[in-house]
């Protein structure tokens, strides 16, 4: 008897948007618009909605005032209404009790649920595309917005890294329920999976899950936007430097994903990455890579040491 080949699931297409909580909304919004290079598109009493110039959706980032920094929610966009229904069914099958919400600025109805690991997630399909005002119209119609770079000029939302108490369990859940493909994992000692890099389509990762070092859950490690080249990350470093932004880690090259990275903190305390490159995964049967040699560490390709803060700092920050 032959076993049946397990088909990849393509019901979810992309990291749609993220909501970050910040105790310093005004300063955070200033950082993201003036230094990181995003554009404001809407505002409510407690939130500011932002977009990157090369996001084709209206908004990819919602900043919400809150006593503490951290993740509001992360939202995955389905490939179709049917795909959305199948994923909601798969979540329900796995005992997830979510609820349908009406939507928000930029998107329609969404299924909201708590993922294993304690992070609020949404999955949705209906989305408002960005329609440029006349002075934002690009010269080339295959681009959402005029390229008129300022600051880091972050180009589009790329991936998110969440801390979870049980990486293997959370990772398996995301594979089965939402259709994430496992690309790489870090298992320094047997059965001790401390990191997993997962993607929806052809990127090196849309979601990274790494081990929560503390007795808590639901924390954010970092949110990343992409720029086009490694040189753009170096230019970002120059711009952060000129603007008094502390560079926590990088620019350097990851070993996992091979992405070229730079991490900073936005004024609210959330860690934000500028990312370029990363392996491209075109093969539908890419064989997941298991890393074992770097005990406990995330490592970098060229040997740059990982700063302690990268292992300890996450949002919300824990109080002694």
């Amino acid at each position: 008897m032959t076993s049946v080949y397990r088909e990849p699931i393509f019901d979810v297409a992309q990291l749609g948007h993220t909501e970050l909580l910040t105790p310093t909304l005004e300063k955070s919004a200033a950082f993201f618009t003036e230094v990181y290079g995003l554009y404001p598109v809407a505002e409510t009493a407690d939130s500011v909605y932002l977009r990157a110039w090369n996001d084709d959706v209206l908004t990819s980032l919602k900043l919400t005032a809150s006593p503490e920094a951290g993740l509001g929610h992360v939202a995955w966009r389905a490939s179709s209404p049917q795909g959305l229904e199948r994923r909601v069914a798969a979540l329900t099958e796995r005992g997830i009790e979510g609820r349908w919400i009406d939507g928000d600025i930029g998107h329609g109805k969404a299924y909201s649920f708590m993922a294993p690991g304690g992070h609020s997630m949404e999955v949705y399909f209906e989305t408002e595309k960005f329609r440029p005002a006349p002075d934002q119209k690009p010269y080339l119609p295959n681009q959402p917005q005029r390229y008129n770079p300022h600051g880091v000029a972050a180009a589009h939302i790329d991936h998110i890294n969440l801390l979870v108490p049980d990486v293997a369990a959370s990772r398996a859940f995301q594979e089965e329920a939402l259709g994430f493909k496992l690309r790489e994992r870090l298992v320094p000692t047997e059965d001790n999976e401390v990191g997993a890099w997962l993607s929806l389509m052809t990127k090196s990762h849309d979601l990274a899950l790494t081990r929560e070092p503390a007795q808590t859950d639901g924390r954010l490690h970092h949110l990343a936007y992409a720029v086009e080249t490694r040189d753009d990350v170096l230019k970002a470093a120059d711009i952060f430097m000129e603007n008094g932004v502390f560079l926590e880690f990088g620019p350097a090259k990851h070993s996992r994903t091979q992405g070229f990275f730079l991490y900073v903190f936005e004024p609210g305390g959330n860690r934000i990455e500028v990312f370029a490159g990363g392996i491209h995964i075109f093969s539908p049967d890419f064989e997941p890579v298991t890393w074992t040699t770097e005990a406990g560490g995330r490592g970098t390709a060229w040997g740059l040491a990982v700063p302690d803060s990268f292992h300890s700092h996450a949002t919300p920050v824990l109080r002694g």
Copy 2:
């Protein structure tokens, strides 16, 4: 009654490999290995099999001796065995009479058929991955082969451009039968579609179909491999120049796809591109862009004129 949303098809994942015909096999092989930077992996009486350092499959290019240059066949890799079956069924439904072949070096059984437009195509799933010899092992295990660049160092197979007599018909066929997504099309006058750019997953295009100017069919416009950055394309221009290779067109920026391109001819006469960038399409409901303003032309983003040869030369070359 509400209409049903048409789900995207993800049964085919990538441009798997291409066979090019050449009247000068030895010289063509030397060009691809010494200047373009590919690696030979196998050889038969009439053919040489090549790979790029960042292809994860064993081989992506087969060069075959033939009286005339042109396309041997282009082969699309399915996402799964089930996806392959569904696509073969879809082909059959559309009256395509293909046949199963046993496979070739680098892949297993494949369904071979003649596409509208006169090009020999294959669709297949079983593939041999590249297993590096000890001296080809990369330092990072998430990469297929050591990066030890020589020549242009073409990184991976990217897309192919075929000339077809009826672009609209061929394009619709590829959408329906294989699941290509239409990204952009050039329709200079009503109902006169002269170009279509189609992709399988998130790239700007895996397949371009442009109007055959002559009373023939089955011709190749160009085959493209990707490099990482626009600067890599500029370096490729320097290397072609130093090696006496005529640069037909570029480096410059396409308007369609926004790719950064450089076209040369390999010694057999086939047009070969070095490509970087291109728009990234993450939205599952990307709205196809219709270009109307450039009558008959392919155009470039910055205004560089398209050389006449780009509109007239294709392989096989027509005899007066």
Copy 3:
């Protein structure tokens, strides 16, 4: 008897500043500040003074309202007061009748003279350095101004190209009087020197002299500012495109100088270049290169044809 080695002269150090005339002062100033990325530093009734972020002097460009576009003057900065005196003596020896002027915003007394070829030139030493306001202070004190790029972000003044009726004579004059070193020249047919590229220190050129095609003199071919990399020139092309600026020629690579170039017209009609790279000349006895193979043309390294306008357009524009 042994001949005496002719020592290089280093009395003049750099292209200090240029004055461009424009019939559309306001629009020209807007182009240079908003698109080209320069900064205004002073203004008089008829002129606007500008600087690039990486110029260490107060100002490198003066725009002056005038009925016609063209060159106001080009000013060379001496290496020392003594070097200035020696160069004025050398000019006088050669029959040049100039005069001392008091200076202008940004520099002290200067010797003003008409160069063979009909261009107004100055040579001077006393210069006002740029002192950044608190909000312009760079993080690194070895840089004149904070790097906060906007538009093309032209970095520093680089070189100027003047049209002269007799290239060989003008070139010899500049070598002998000001100490320019001949780097390359274009002599398509014997004794017919149509281009000369000259530099003061280690750049590929600070001054290019090319043949005036018309029965006139004193015209400007182009003024160039530098950016750091070839990729920055590509980004400049994108930015010009988005801002509706016509790209006359480039981006591409020069054969002479090997610089990577892009030419546009500022609203007043003067041709402006964005330049990167260029050969570095560290050897004090660099052997000038004589090009003969490209009859009459300026040529490009990769074969891109030179547009007719590049041979015919200069400022002031001639009236039929």
Copy 4:
């Protein structure tokens, strides 16, 4: 009475070549040719002579077998025979007792002397230019050698960093005797100059002098070749990684010079840099920058910590 302006001296033009000592000549030569990307041009019983593709002289590096790693000598090329005579006179005036040597492969007679700090130096003018063999001829005649990159493809010799017991004294000597211009210095506490960056013409530095931490003299900190862009340094990091070369420090950005750097050790133990960028100094009266804020450290622009080895390791290595 007015003081006399001190004219800059341009009698010395460039870092001509360097001799490195190595206990593992064969392995060192293999590293420099296969990984670093230099070319061998001559060989004697004990030495191998190398060149970079963009050096216009025959050779810029001599590797000599020796029991211990370190500097053989560093040689400065004069701008003219007259400049050479003036510099020898200036050395003699300062009590230096050197001697004329006949020359070596690649250059003619040279004045050899011991510089304060214990390093063997030469100053010379007569130099053999590189004449490419037919298969090394570049397409563009303004380039010394065909660009056919392999490995890191180091482009030309750039600068050298020597450890000296008394930085202020050594620095003043080099300014007065050879005409170096002081560009930047590090003086963390009053009168305690621990680093000086000096240049001959327009580069950020040709010579760096930093404080010898041990009770010794004559040691080499590092030798650097340049590549064109920061991205080329990143590619060098990838290539070193793939070839098993330990990356000591970088890629990152220096605060002094703003150069983009990467340090590795060649098999003999000498520290070798790949360098790009660096500030350009066109003003003849550039005001030297005094850094005081980074007590004892060399620092980096973006905050990357300097590894201990960078402060302690030099060649020859001291024995406990």
